[in-house]
């Protein structure tokens, strides 16, 4: 578009500004207002409220006076959020933030690799739709049921996991996995991986479907081995999806609540041994003694960790 055209365009706009643009502006407002009102009241508003409220002292549910960083300092010094002594000795409970980050460190890489592996494995099989749906089933199930199913699997009597241990001769390890403070978190992370792998596989499958099979065929003809074909053809195409998979995984894990609640109630397990940030928010906000200031700080920590990642995804395209 030349400069001349641009100026013409501006002039054309100005000619119609009084008539058509008014009508257009009214239409835009009518389309936007109902949705944005609800969005503002029930989503943006509460977030702003929490951001502001984290700097105030609270009496129950009502805001009192400005206290600066008081809530923030108090929260970071709280052993329920970060328990330095136990981290040094690697004993649970290590604090909800530490445990939540441990969850990220284990859950995200493993579920990403499993998702990619399954997508590649199923890619050219007959009946792949059924296989994929079987793996994806967990992701459509309410997560509270996932938590209950995990308790069922790890039950000392009725649980199939303990039966498996008995069969392979590890009777000494049979226990109620979700109630044993030092191992329960790993048992639950395994459950999280079980669910999220299906979602990751779905994203990878749709990326793999975009690869032209003839390219792979011709690479085969040219004598490229399995690994070479993967790194040179498949990987460059699935790499952008990997960023999405990893970031969605982190968002999912930083929000994890239902699974932990099902297994350990609002305490997050015996002696809070596998509590996560979401659980701490719930307990601080809705169980006496009510501490809205802390609840808001913890929820903001959750947001601060994932917000840059979400903005990064949005910037990618």
């Amino acid at each position: 578009m030349s400069l001349r055209d641009h100026i013409d365009g501006l002039e054309a706009d100005r000619d119609t500004a009084s008539g058509i643009d008014r009508e257009k502006a009214v239409a835009i407002v009518i389309f936007l207002v109902p949705g944005l009102t609800l969005f503002g009241i029930f989503s943006v508003g509460p977030i702003v409220y929490s951001a502001v409220g984290s700097f105030f002292s609270w009496d129950g549910f009502s805001m009192e006076s400005f206290v600066g960083l008081d809530n923030w300092i108090r929260t970071f010094a709280d052993p329920l959020i970060i328990h330095w002594d136990n981290i040094a000795r690697w004993r649970f409970p290590m604090g909800a933030l530490t445990q939540n980050l441990l969850w990220v460190v284990l859950h995200v890489p493993i579920s990403t690799l499993l998702g990619l592996g399954m997508a590649v494995l199923f890619a050219d099989l007959k009946g792949r739709r059924i296989l994929r749906s079987m793996v994806f089933l967990g992701f459509t199930t309410p997560t509270i049921i996932i938590g209950l199913v995990l308790m069922f699997i790890y039950d000392p009597q009725a649980g199939i996991f303990n039966e498996l241990l008995r069969v392979i001769g590890l009777e000494g390890s049979v226990r109620n996995w979700t109630q044993s403070p030092q191992v329960a978190i790993y048992a639950l992370i395994a459950g999280g991986i079980w669910v999220q792998t299906g979602f990751n596989m779905l994203l990878y499958s749709s990326a793999l479907a975009a690869i032209d099979p003839s390219v792979i065929e011709s690479a085969k003809v040219d004598g490229a081995g399995r690994w070479r074909r993967f790194w040179d053809i498949v990987w460059p195409l699935v790499r952008p999806v990997t960023a999405v998979v990893v970031i969605m995984g982190i968002i999912w894990v930083m929000r994890v609540f239902d699974i932990v609640y099902a297994a350990g109630g609002s305490a997050g397990g015996p002696n809070h041994s596998y509590s996560v940030l979401g659980i701490e928010v719930y307990r601080a906000a809705f169980e006496p003694p009510i501490d809205y200031g802390k609840a808001m700080v913890v929820a903001l920590i959750q947001l601060v960790i994932v917000a840059p990642l979400a903005l990064y995804i949005a910037r990618m395209d």
């Binding site: 029930f42 099989l125 199930t141 009725a158 928010v281």
Partner: protein, 323 residues
């Protein structure tokens, strides 16, 4: 086209020419009868049967997929069996007793009957989905087509809400609902779900609308259609696939949600189904049959919906996170 670079391409050109002429056999050399298959049945069958590595691949794939649903298989089996048999291991199938007792007890569970809870869940989910679809489509239209002030800022808020954990809005919404008297009511929870879902729905539908050419709308404008008529008669019908995706995903999300009902529904007669399930675990011995029956009833709806509208669900899921 090969004339420009004679040294590099002379050889291949010559070869392919030779190959091309050899494709055609002279007319008198065409045989009278059809060519006989040069493979006997044995080799043909051998070629149709997958090779060893491929068979192995199928075996691994099926084993993995089965492993992934074993926990649900266990849940399903447990829901039809008495507690004694579940404690002895649901994988022992000999002498199995099938009973619907668990379902009957879960349906009329004393604290919060599952029948009532499922009804509550439906009452909350259906309006939360329909309203989000309508308001989301309305708001997405200007986002896709027009420039207006504060557009970038609104975008930023939408992304912020999509990244935020539900816990972050719980405190503010708790106070708001108390203030306006909608705490512990269907309407309150519905409003929270609508406000929470609108962010991703607007973004998702806007991306979809960007892919629809504008010419149709321009033509309709010239014919004198108003912007509302265009929205109703062109935009909504054209975005049907995206709206179906929104409906399935939002339905699953609202139906499966546990945290919002836990915070906003406090009277047992208003409990939603996911909320009732952890109450069923009891204190001393977990009633696995009861929990399993309740879980199967609760998950049946989203799973059925997923299987029916699998294509929309998957496409929507992929588009929602990758666009």
């Amino acid at each position: 086209m090969t004339n420009d670079e004679p040294h590099t391409s002379r050889e291949p050109t010559a070869k392919s020419d030779g190959g091309a002429t050899e494709q055609y056999i002279p007319l008198d050399a065409v045989p009278e009868s059809a060519p006989r298959p040069d493979l006997d049945w044995g080799t043909r069958i051998a070629a149709a049967v997958p090779s060893m590595p491929r068979l192995l691949k199928y075996a691994i794939a099926i084993a993995v997929a089965v492993l992934w649903i074993v926990p649900f298989l266990g849940l399903f089996m447990a829901s039809f069996r008495p507690l004694g048999e579940i404690l002895a291991g649901w994988w022992h199938v000999e002498g199995m007793t099938i009973t619907f007792e668990n379902y009957r007890r879960a349906w009329s569970y004393q604290t919060a009957p599952m029948g009532r809870a499922l009804f509550n869940t439906l009452v909350v989910t259906v309006p939360a989905v329909l309203v989000v679809m309508l308001l989301g489509a309305m708001a997405a239209y200007p986002f896709a087509r027009f420039e207006f002030p504060l557009k970038t800022m609104l975008f930023f808020f939408i992304l912020l809400v999509m990244a935020a954990p539900p816990e972050l809005v719980a405190m503010g919404n708790y106070n708001t609902l108390r203030e306006i008297g909608l705490f512990d009511s269907y309407m309150g929870l519905i409003l929270v779900h609508i406000g929470w879902g609108l962010g991703w729905v607007v973004l998702f539908l806007r991306n979809y609308l960007l892919g629809i050419p504008e010419e149709l709308e321009e033509a309709a404008r010239i014919d004198g259609a108003s912007r509302y008529q265009i929205f109703r008669t062109i935009i909504l019908p054209l975005s049907t696939p995206a709206l179906v995706s929104v409906a399935v995903i939002q339905f699953t999300w609202v139906w499966n949600a546990f945290f919002f009902p836990l915070v906003f529904m406090r009277s047992p007669e208003l409990y939603l189904a996911p909320q009732v399930l952890p109450l069923m675990t009891g204190r001393i011995q977990v009633e696995w049959g009861l929990v399993a029956a309740g879980s199967v009833m609760t998950m049946a709806v989203p799973v059925f919906l997923f299987l029916m509208l699998e294509r929309y669900y998957k496409q929507g899921m992929v588009a929602a996170v990758t666009d």
